[in-house]
Amino acid sequence: MHGNRNNPSRRATLGALAVLASGATVGLTGCGSQSGSVAKRDKSAKPKIALVMKSLANEFFGTMAEGAKKHQAANPGKYELIVNGIPDERDVTRQSALVAEMVAQGVDAIVIAPADSKALATPLKRAAEKGVRIVNIDNKLDEEVLEKLKLKIPFVGPNNQAGAQKVGEYLADKLSPGSEVAILEGVVTSFNSQQRRDGFGKAIFQSRLKLVKSQSAQWETGPANQVAASILAANPDLKAIFCCNDNMALGALAAVKAAGKTGKVQIVGFDNISAVQAAIKAGEILATADQHGDQLAVFGIETALALLDDKIGENDKETPVDLITREKLP
């Protein structure tokens, strides 16, 4: 908590405990001002924004939510924030209920990381029909379904493909044409994994490198270690491994070290986690990409605020992905 009296999560925590105690005889004053009716919003009133996340127990989403709370605490006059997550990543039922609950609560906009790209579309359409503005972050809603519902929801997020291509090109520039390389993919059905794989692929194709293997290591360090070790054993001339996230880059690094090929096989990752930053500083991993995970929800909120002020239309907005190399780290 940030020591701010108006901090909604703190107020809510105490409020919740008060309810538990007695059906409410103790509590804090001031439940926050109510903004006007949703359909025709009074533009001078402070808008209320709901952030609907996946599981907040997952560090990635927890960090995103914390980033949003900090942003609200720094801009208390601009908007009110209410953050909710679901206990299980896959619990679309609860998440769809949350959307309806936020609408009934009178929020002006919902920023959502959908647990499912199709199943949340219908509940969101109902919210949009009530005049609530919607912004999609993290997991892009299915375009076909949105089209069928005649629903326009802006997606605010990083272009994973372009980001991976940037990282891939940085590595490819250091290799001669024809060099053998491999890709470690995340969970194959994951959109992010496909995008990053395609970005690496483009860089590999442009520099005329030879892709000998592209395999899934499920986003995890352990499986990445096994897969990378077997690829290294089968391809003694391998010059580089492109990893779709940093956890897998760490697994690949351990495999390269175990094979006694440190420095001979280059590795790149994606996410900019602290362990990989250390490896980049040590010269063991070449580069990674930073998609500013803690700011992803904030970007969504800023888009929602602009939408509410009618400053922009319902268009997708790309957020920055930065190439992180040794020079960029302190």
């Binding site: 909604p8 107020r11 409410a24 619990d91 609950e101 609560q105 219908t122």
Partner: protein
């Protein structure tokens, strides 16, 4: 722990239902005070429209628990019937009503299998249904190819609120199921037999009741209602999600226990369980609307479940 009446009549204690109503009223008042919007008809209708699936699941669970069993598989059976429904409508282009029938039959089949295996082989139902929890979810992924299927508005009619009433046909249907379930308990021979079987097999035999048949019927009914819950979910989301209903068995069991059923059988009422569902739904909606932090939500929900059961136990002891 004292058990319900040995006369074989279902326990329908107005005192207990009254206690639950008081708890509900206090919660609504508390949330309304913290968050004035909570009092809006929109929020109250919302609570009504969110619960049809949990309400029918709790109804089925009550029947099984009164008969001394438990069904851990209902959440997965919801997922399986959802996947079947999605496949029938989306892949085979069946008419809506036959798809819904297929979902109900799927649920009934799972329930029947649960009941038959556990009763005939004498295996505790929590083990058999734990197996079904895994197997049915696997079946759901298999049928759906682990993909959510968008169905559009074919089932919209079930979930769209009726104008002027603010409640959806699903909610009304669920209300009817609850009334029918309570009717079955209070006014039919099967209702009395469920209690007798839950109390004591020997006693049931002496009444001339075959406990096996009664238990199997309870599981089958529970399965059908899980299929119905799958229909409700599919209608609400406009899509068939093979992950539907994950963890819902816990919500259903919690509702039944809050509603005053005995985990060891012989006591419990569908109406009480329905009030348990309302307690959980109001808590969930209220905590979300005031924006409680996630850990707090779970602490509070867990606390309320245990407090409700404690209060019930004290009330019984005092009597």
């Amino acid at each position: 722990m004292s058990r319900g009446g040995g006369d074989g009549r279902p326990q329908f204690s107005t005192g207990q239902l009254g206690g639950l109503l008081v708890v509900l009223a206090l919660m609504v008042a508390g949330f309304g005070w913290l968050q004035p919007r909570f009092f809006s008809t929109a929020t109250l209708a919302l609570v009504g429209n969110q619960i049809p699936d949990l309400a029918v699941l709790a109804c089925g669970m009550t029947l099984v628990m009164v008969a001394g069993g438990i069904d851990l598989s209902v959440g997965s059976v919801v997922g399986l019937s959802t996947a079947v429904l999605g496949h029938c409508l989306g892949e085979w282009n069946w008419p809506v009503w036959t798809g819904c029938l297929a979902a109900l039959v799927t649920g009934a089949g799972c329930g029947l299998l649960n009941g038959t295996v556990s009763v005939l082989a004498g295996i505790p139902s929590f083990i058999v249904t734990l197996g079904m929890l895994e197997a049915a979810r696997g079946g759901a992924y298999l049928i759906s190819g682990s993909q959510t299927r968008y169905l559009g508005d074919g089932l919209e009619g079930l979930s769209a609120p009726i104008a002027g009433l603010n409640l959806s046909p699903s909610a009304l249907l669920a209300g009817l199921v609850v009334l029918a379930g309570q009717g079955l308990q209070s006014f039919t021979a099967l209702g009395r037999r469920l209690v007798a079987v839950g109390e004591n097999d020997q006693a049931a035999w002496r009444m001339g009741v075959d406990p096996k048949a009664v238990r199997i019927i309870a599981f089958a009914l529970c399965g059908v209602l899980a299929g119905l819950a799958g229909m409700f979910q599919t209608a609400r989301l406009g899509s068939a999600d093979p992950n539907a209903g994950i963890g819902m068995e816990l919500g259903a069991i919690a509702a039944v226990v809050i509603g005053g059923a005995s985990p060891s059988g012989g006591r419990g009422s569908v109406l009480g369980s329905f009030l348990g569902v309302l307690v959980i739904a109001v808590l969930q909606t209220g905590l979300a609307q005031i924006g409680a932090a996630d850990p707090v939500k779970r602490l509070v929900t867990g606390g309320v479940i245990v407090l409700a059961v404690l209060a019930d136990a004290w009330r019984r002891k005092a009597r």
